[in-house]
């Protein structure tokens, strides 16, 4: 299967997970944020699906750029510019290489540049960074994603809306890390990570 088809399939998996788990993501976000992560992302992925249905793609760059711009425009919360920047960075990188780890590594760069977050701050970066590292050495699997996600629970948020809660953010899974876990699971399921 062509890379573009695999990525589209992966995005379908991601959309379904986000939409199915909308309430759960909102619930996670209610504990430490403003409670709309699930609703915001669901709105975003629905708009992306609408766009993908109208267009056909013969290269990753156009696909990523469209996904990124729609997410930026439609999501409404911080996750819009963050996921959007990831895809826009990947759109640029895909002109150089369609290697999965180099693509997602530039996606991570897009997120850290936009959100100015580092690992250990209880954000989506805490799933993206270990997942990208594992991709680089070919060891990404469900257990890597699960343990990265779980690690956000004991972290104290120092970036994002949860940081206003300080120590009270400890003990909760970060909602952006949860949606990022769905993102990487979708890549595995759609076979994007297969050689």
């Amino acid at each position: 299967m062509a890379q573009t088809e695999k990525w589209i399939k992966s995005f379908e998996h991601f959309s379904r997970k986000i939409t199915d788990e909308k309430s759960f993501l909102n619930e996670l976000d209610s504990a430490i944020g403003d409670g709309d992560h699930g609703s915001n992302l669901t709105r975003g992925v629905a708009a992306v699906n609408e766009k993908l249905e109208q267009q056909s793609y013969d290269n990753l760059s156009d696909l990523f750029k469209d996904i990124g711009m729609v997410l930026v425009s439609k999501v409404g919360g911080a996750s819009g510019p963050l996921y959007g920047s990831a895809f826009i960075s990947m759109a640029k990188q895909s002109k150089e290489s369609d290697d999965i780890s180099s693509l997602l590594s530039s996606g991570l760069d897009g997120i850290t540049k936009r959100g100015k977050a580092e690992t250990g701050e209880k954000t989506m970066v805490d799933v993206w960074a270990p997942a990208v590292d594992a991709l680089k050495d070919g060891t990404l699997d469900q257990s890597v994603i699960d343990s990265a996600l779980e690690s956000t629970k004991d972290m104290k948020a120092t970036k994002g809306r949860a940081s206003y809660l300080g120590d009270r953010s400890i003990g909760h899974i970060d909602p952006g890390a949860q949606s990022s876990a769905y993102f990487f699971e979708s890549l595995l399921e759609a076979g994007v990570t297969d050689e």
């Binding site: 709309d36 930026v72 425009s73 409404g76 819009g80 963050l82 959007g84 936009r114 994002g160």
Partner: protein, 125 residues
């Protein structure tokens, strides 16, 4: 357009942005002050599209931007990267920074002096 700098206020809530504009208009009647508050549906949040459109709507080439919370900054950053305008995002306390700046723009104080004066109001990175 009677000053070289316009002021853009970005908030998660439309009425917060428009309320702040009301406050600023009182001391800076000759300064163009525009708002991008809330999402396009009027919900709580910020909108890249709304921010971009509002930036483009300024006659001024130079726009000083103030914002409330996280995603407002990220959407502002993205809009700034995509516009031809000369945009500066100020990381001050939203109300105090915008109010001081608007007052000083009205009095034709040069930007460098304004920035020096509001530097102690910087509370965001």
């Amino acid at each position: 357009m009677s000053k070289s700098y316009g002021v853009l206020l970005v908030s998660h809530v439309e009425s917060v942005a428009s309320g702040l504009k009301q406050l600023l208009d009182q001391v800076a009647s000759d300064v163009t002050i525009r708002t991008a508050g809330g999402t396009e549906d009027g919900d709580v949040g910020t909108s890249f599209d709304l921010i971009s459109e509002t930036l483009e709507s300024f006659e001024e080439d130079n726009v000083l931007c103030f914002y409330d919370l996280g995603s407002a900054k990220m959407n502002l950053d993205m809009a700034t990267e995509m516009t031809e305008k000369n945009v500066e995002i100020l990381n001050t306390a939203f109300i105090e920074g915008a109010y001081t700046t608007a007052s000083l723009l009205q009095a034709d104080v040069p930007l460098d002096n304004i920035k020096e004066q509001i530097s102690k109001l910087v509370i965001k990175e």
